[in-house]
Amino acid sequence: MLKARRRARLLAAALAGALSLSTLAACGDSDDGGSGDGKTLRLWHYEGPDSAMGKAWAEAIKEFEDSHPGVKVEFEEKGFEQIQKTAPQVLNSDQAPDLMEYNKGNATTGQLSRQGLLTDLTEEAEKRGWADAVPPTVATTSRYDENGVMGDGAWYGIPNYAEYTMVYYNKDLFAEHGVEVPTTFAELEEALATFADAGITPFANAGAEYMAQQYLYQLALSQADKAWVDSFQMGGETDFSDAAWTYAAETFADWVDKGYIAENSSGTKAEDAGVSFIQGKHPMLFSGSWWFGRFQAEVQKFDWDTFLWPGSDLTLGSGGNLWVVPEGADNKELAYDFIDITMKKGIQNILGDNGGVPVAADPAAISDPQSQALIKDYTTLADGDGLAYYPDWPANGFYDSMTSETQKLITGSAEPGDVLKSLQSEYDENVLQE
């Protein structure tokens, strides 16, 4: 009797086990939706639903489904890290989506294009007019040669938006301290001195992340020209002891001494710097257009606006992230149609109205004055070929070198000359040659 019950229990357990295994296997077989029937567009991106891109692309999906009756968009929102970490594996399998957002740059889109995992979009870009809509300075990050180095070559990605850096300033604090918006570098230093004298650290900064090195690079850019940028970014050659870099490192160190940049900001994150600007603790923040939408939504205590770095024709920036079509995509035609919709004025204007920097918007159709100014500044930069990319791009692992060397300038643990020397050796060792 006892034995029989035991056996029954054992049988039940075995059955349960087999059952759970079979359900698992069944889940595994679930079809991947990817068949070249022209009926589904599998689309991945990693922008939050409240961001400018998120809103514009949600609208684009609606428009796409309206103009393609019977076609379903299977959209999956991915994490940035997941796409970063797993894109090569996914694209090499039969799970590849038809269209996805991907990070621009040699180490990302460049690498995938070299491995043959991305579709060459040159023909479509010419035919559908994308190549003309994207200004050359922005197109740099869309085109990769056979070694996967950006600059020229075939089109592998289409950017919907651009990004650039600017000074965000707190109008209320400016008025309170009688500071005018600086139009020259001397006026900027005057403004900085006024705030420092009043016991306020004028610039919000984040030494542990990209922000600090962007101050440094911007200072160098104010003394440089396009040829200098091309050599540093793509030529694989720069002299860190030249006038521009020396000026940048010395001015940066000097600003820390004078209290324009907080000495204790060496370990802070970009998020902290952004939040401290929102809280009104610093009158100025120098960073990218990616903050614009968030400040629009979250700054409530004061009025704010932006200006370009005074006395500099060049500033940091580039095309935004790209639409790429995996080589293994099943419905490439649909993917092209979708990209086409996102490049049309309607979607581009939504981007612009929500704090994004559209590549091909109609400035007259943007209603918000702040956004209008944002797009106007972008047009100035794009027309003047004024986007100088980011300081960590030219060499492998240079982001970490830049971060730790600028940290030394902030803490004062190394002289500007020594910092530049270390940067030179890191750069020479790891630079990506064309």
């Binding site: 698992l24 889940c27 922008e47 994490g79 890290e81 939040v275 990218g288």
Partner: protein, 273 residues
């Protein structure tokens, strides 16, 4: 006398507990704040009111119910299968005393210490060849093996000290090896096995890298992978991340509370041995 000795210990424990609980309190506080409130008042201020949009938005945005089910399915299957596998192999090693036992054990420990990063590519290729890429089954198989490596190691040493008299008595009564395992060894070792099962469940629940790589479709993803959706390239939504963290950790806490008696019993049993 005992009271004098008790209070400092009690105070130290309360302090320690406060330190342990503090992060959860901060998460809870920020999970019910609106993003505007977080940005203007900072993370340590008390919330003005309860703002639940972060929680509900996140739930809908990632279809959290589905992720929860995936996590339960994967962690539950792994806990069960890994324990069965551990018991079988530990029986051979700990009680059966097979030849070359130390080497086998050393191999398991080594396998257990292997960093997961080094497993990513081999597992990716194997599962693609086997047609299991982007299935939950692949993750279950991988973690069953990974967890049972540790389980085998631990159970073997526990079973190595199993009273031989009991086994011999069973043998004399005519029990087969199979019967000795299921009627004698397993019932006696139940506390340890219970602990293992709980640990496997929680460990698998918290796994991030391999599920991230192996589970591509949204329909197959686990809770910890879903949390990653909120971390953008340059921006983060602090309040929603807190809301998500809260949702992510609640099931593990619930599971722990339900099985905490098993856990403490297992630890005590180990201590006496």
């Amino acid at each position: 006398m005992t009271a004098v000795r008790k209070y400092p210990v009690l105070a130290a424990l309360v302090l320690g507990a406060a330190f342990m609980v503090l992060p959860f309190v901060v998460v809870l506080m920020n999970a019910v704040k609106s993003p505007e409130e977080y940005s203007s008042d900072g993370p340590l201020s008390m919330p003005d009111g309860v703002y639940l949009d972060g929680l509900t938005d996140f739930w809908e945005r990632v279809d959290f119910g589905q992720k929860l089910w995936n996590s339960v399915l994967i962690s539950g299957s792994v806990a069960l299968l890994a324990v069965v596998l551990s018991v079988l192999s530990a029986y051979a090693i700990g009680i059966g005393r097979i030849r070359g036992r130390p080497y086998v054990l050393a191999f398991f420990v080594l396998a257990n210490m292997l960093p997961q990063e080094s497993l990513v590519y081999p597992i990716y290729y194997l599962s693609k060849e086997a047609g299991l890429y982007d299935t939950r089954l692949s993750v279950v198989i991988v973690f069953t093996v990974v967890q049972s490596a540790f389980g085998t190691y631990l159970l073997s040493s526990v079973l190595g000290g199993f009273p031989r008299e009991v086994i011999e008595a069973a043998r004399i009564d005519g029990a087969t090896k199979w019967q000795v395992l299921w009627r004698v060894v397993v019932p006696v070792s139940r506390p340890t096995i219970g602990v293992l099962m709980v640990l496997f469940f929680i460990w698998t629940w918290n796994e991030f890298l391999l599920p991230l790589v192996m589970l591509v479709s949204d329909d197959n993803q686990t809770v910890s992978v879903a949390l990653g959706v909120l971390q953008g390239q340059r921006d983060m939504d602090a309040t929603m991340t807190n809301a998500a963290a809260l949702l992510g950790v609640l099931p593990a806490i619930a599971f722990f509370l339900i099985f905490q008696r098993t856990l403490t019993r297992g630890i005590a049993v180990g201590a006496v041995k």
